[in-house]
């Protein structure tokens, strides 16, 4: 195991983050687009926003009675028209929607890739003591977009292949449970557990590979396939150190995120209370007769909107700083690993 100075990495990354504010622009882009938080490679972050299967299942019961009636009536009126529209028109609508969605996704993907490349290149420049601006880092970011996208496609194909193999084994597992009475169930449960563990390991492994590969592509200009091969070799050799770094990154990042969120909330709750008191005298009076305060409604709404925008912007900014710091730690970690690689014969 290579001797890594974790506390040194964390401190240095923080110093670089603090002193190079241009890098925050990349962080903001990544924070807003919900991109990689610099934990491990390029995992997306939208799963928590999607509704749970339970919620989807209960959806028809959750619709209030009146709404259901209105929907019923509207559906009746619209159904006639829907039947009269030619399938060609629906296909056109579908294609238009698909085109816009795919172009939107491609734009978001390219922007995230650009921001990642810019952060990696910018952090490396900062670490070397070179001046860091949006202009100087953007050049490296622009030139790295294409190989990084190629690498992303390559990783996706590998992931897809792994997923297909995993699915086939899972199907065999279900067949075993269904057709072989007792032994099949025991083997099935055991195989299921093994598959779950293998999947988890694969996800972590691919994520660690991405940490190395992205830096090899941006900082050493390696082609995607060569970067993948080299990062695979590095991952196998330094899996323990990388896991510790990832764990430290996540723990510190989460703690900092929660603390800053609390601080922002503590800043905004008194502001909201004071604004309500200024406008309405007291909250109880306002709730008793809200119409008496109608004159204040536009001010209240405008102020509230501004406060809300500020609130979310502050959250995004904090997020952005944490993302930049995490990229900094990974960059410093990568530099130490590469140094140890060079020193070993």
């Amino acid at each position: 195991m290579t001797d890594i100075n974790y506390s040194g990495i964390i401190k240095r990354a923080w110093t670089l983050t603090k002193s190079h504010k241009w890098l925050w622009v990349y962080g903001i882009v990544l924070a807003v687009l919900g991109g990689s938080s610099g934990n491990f490679g390029n995992s997306g972050g939208s799963s928590s926003r999607s509704p749970s299967p339970e919620n989807l299942k209960n959806l028809p019961e959750q619709i209030p009675d009146e709404t259901r009636k209105v929907l019923g009536a509207a559906t009746d009126a619209i159904t006639q028209w829907v039947n009269s529209v030619s399938p060609f028109t629906w296909i056109t609508v579908g294609l238009a929607l698909l085109t816009v969605l795919s172009i939107g996704m491609v734009i978001i993907w390219i922007t995230k890739t650009w921001a990642k490349a810019g952060l990696i290149a910018g952090m490396a420049q900062a670490s070397r003591g070179q001046p860091v601006t949006l202009e100087t880092t953007a050049k490296s970011a622009l030139s790295s977009i294409r190989p990084l996208i190629h690498y992303g496609v390559l990783l996706f194909l590998f992931g897809l292949a792994a997923f297909v193999v995993w699915g086939i084994v899972l199907a065999v597992n279900f067949a075993l449970i269904a057709f072989v009475p007792v032994l099949g169930t025991i083997i099935g449960i055991f195989l299921g557990l093994v598959l779950a563990v293998i999947m988890l390991i694969c996800i972590v492994f691919f994520s660690i590979i991405s940490v190395y590969a992205e830096r090899l592509i941006v900082l050493q200009n390696l082609p995607p396939m060569a970067a993948l091969k080299k990062s695979y070799r590095l991952t196998r050799k330094h899996v323990g150190e990388t896991l510790i770094m990832g764990l430290l990154n996540n723990v510190i990042g989460c703690t900092a995120g929660c603390l800053s969120m609390l601080a922002i909330l503590m800043l905004f709750i008194p502001a909201a209370v004071i604004s309500v008191m200024i406008i309405g005298g007291s909250w109880s009076e306002f709730t008793k007769n809200p119409m008496a305060y109608a004159y204040a409604l536009p001010w209240f709404a405008g102020g509230g909107l501004l406060l809300l925008m500020l609130f979310f912007s502050l959250i995004q900014l904090t997020n952005a700083i944490i993302i930049v710091w995490k990229y900094g730690t990974w960059n410093e970690f990568f530099a130490q690993i590469m140094k140890s690689e060079e020193s070993t014969p």
């Binding site: 687009l33 009636k69 019923g72 009536a73 009269s84 929607l97 085109t99 734009i107 050049k139 622009l142």
Partner: protein
């Protein structure tokens, strides 16, 4: 290199480009409000929906193409501006598409600070300019009057479209009343049917109702 352009003229050029988008929206509105019966209204809504999805995208692609080929967007051309790289040469198609599609994603997220940066930067460059390595400069043949006339013309056209749409909305008001009344009558009908179907059932146990037969005690 040519002289960079001040923020106000850049804002005017951007506003012209945005107004062109507004023209598309208002054309859609005008088209929808012209419908005189329910099926036509729904047909127009569908077509306008497709238009709302695709036309802004097509407009953006045209802007990027113009930028890559002639160094301008429509708004910039009208205001006598052009986009060049730092050596004063035109940008390639890749940079043009990057500036058009990715640029707003860089400058807009932090409360439009990336655009506000134009006021601070010595060369009047926003974050999208810095990221794509471009600068907006004055053309030799800059004529501000053309821009002013263009913006006035587009605004007048927008106002006319809006006026026409409101007039159509007023003259076809019966159509929307019909739709609302149809919905209302269906809701009433549904309610009447439900009231007829629901018969009051005793919620209390028979032992508390002396008028109902009581269970025998064993």
């Amino acid at each position: 290199m040519k002289e960079p352009v001040n923020a106000l003229i850049r804002l005017a050029a951007a506003a012209t480009d945005m107004l062109l988008n507004l023209v598309l929206v208002l054309l859609g509105l005008w088209y929808v409000t012209n419908a005189s019966d329910i099926p036509t209204l729904f047909d127009s809504l569908l077509l306008a929906g497709i238009g709302f999805l695709l036309l802004p995208l097509v407009l953006k692609i045209i802007q990027a193409y113009l930028l890559g080929t002639y160094r301008v967007t429509i708004g910039k051309a009208l205001w006598g501006l052009e986009v060049t790289d730092m050596r004063g040469k035109g940008v390639n198609m890749e940079t043009a598409f990057f500036r058009t599609f990715i640029g707003p994603m860089i400058s807009a997220p932090a409360l439009w600070l990336g655009y506000a940066w134009i006021l601070k930067d010595p060369q009047q460059r926003g974050w999208h300019d810095l990221a794509s390595g471009t600068v907006v400069v004055r053309r030799h043949s800059q004529n501000l009057m053309l821009g002013i006339f263009a913006i006035a013309g587009i605004c007048t056209f927008c106002w006319m479209l809006l006026n026409q749409s409101l007039n159509s909305l007023r003259s076809h008001g019966y159509l929307y009343r019909d739709i609302l009344m149809e919905f209302q009558s269906k809701i009433d009908e549904e309610e009447r049917r439900n009231n007829r179907l629901i018969t009051p059932t005793p919620m209390v146990s028979p032992s508390y109702r002396p008028d109902l037969p009581q269970p025998r005690e064993i």
